[in-house]
């Protein structure tokens, strides 16, 4: 008995976007990084010394004159915001049934993300620790 021959499909496949698969992967990779970044952030800011009572302008100035913490916070900002936006995008797709509702909710979501990312990034890069005249930081001593 002859083996039936299977012909190759004649209609060419459309090039499909891998966006959903990539965002699925992004959630897992960014999630693992965020566990380290966010739990480290909480430990440093809330568990050491006087915890939340020690946080003031001078505390932030002390951290953000150090490129290590600037990089830490910048990565945390971008990864957390993109991770959160992608999570909310999934939730909107799940529960908002009308096309127009989904469109407006997602427009609002993306607008808020641009706002948070631009504001947060600007603040980290343009922060001036010497705004405080009483600062004891080396960079502010002239």
């Amino acid at each position: 008995m002859a083996t039936p021959q299977v012909l190759a499909p004649r209609t060419p496949r459309k090039a499909r976007s891998n966006f959903e698969q990539n965002s699925w992967l992004f959630m897992r990779f960014s999630g693992v990084l965020l566990v380290v970044l966010v739990l480290g952030h909480l430990f440093i800011n809330l568990m050491r010394g006087e915890g939340i009572h020690a946080i003031d302008f001078a505390f932030v100035a002390g951290k953000w004159t150090n490129p290590f913490w600037q990089t830490w916070d910048l990565m945390m900002l971008w990864l957390a915001e993109l991770h959160g936006v992608n999570g909310l995008r999934t939730i909107i797709n799940d529960y908002a049934e009308r096309d127009t509702t989904r469109f407006w909710l997602k427009s609002l979501l993306y607008l808020s993300a641009v706002f948070v990312l631009v504001l947060g990034t600007l603040v980290i890069f343009t922060f001036d620790p010497c705004l405080d005249p009483a600062s004891t930081l080396d960079v502010c001593q002239k």
Partner: protein, 127 residues
């Protein structure tokens, strides 16, 4: 196996409830991040503006809300690692239920020292 069929409502066990809790805590954290970026942006305005904003977090009532926030973050973090294990570890799906209880255990093990420390800071003086 449930002994009696009960309608059509899906009532999953650990898997479904951790999925529900993951969504709720995720949304909460997302909205907090929005607020937290804005309050931190006050460092760009003036030291007084920032100290006033962060002063709100040092209020005892907000201090209690922070316990809820950290509870949400810790659960979302450990449950997220469980999701990664279920997806990428060959034995993950087999042990997903045990992993769920490990998440709850780890969460409780870290919440206790955190509450001890944080509530001590919030109610026990500072300035």
């Amino acid at each position: 196996m449930a002994s009696t069929p009960a309608g059509t409502l899906y009532r999953g066990r650990e898997g479904m409830w951790s999925w529900v809790a993951h969504r709720i805590t995720g949304v909460l954290i997302f909205f907090f991040l929005f607020v937290h970026v804005i309050d931190t942006a006050m460092v760009r305005v003036s030291p007084e503006a920032y100290n006033a904003a962060i002063g709100a977090y040092q209020n005892p009532i907000v201090g209690l809300i922070e316990v809820g926030l950290v509870a949400a973050v810790l659960f979302h973090a450990f449950n997220g690692l469980r999701v990664v294990l279920v997806d990428f570890w060959s034995q993950g799906p087999r042990y997903h239920r045990q992993l769920s209880w490990a998440v709850v255990g780890l969460w409780a093990a870290l919440m206790l020292p955190f509450m001890w420390r944080h509530l001590g800071n919030v109610f026990g003086g500072g300035h």
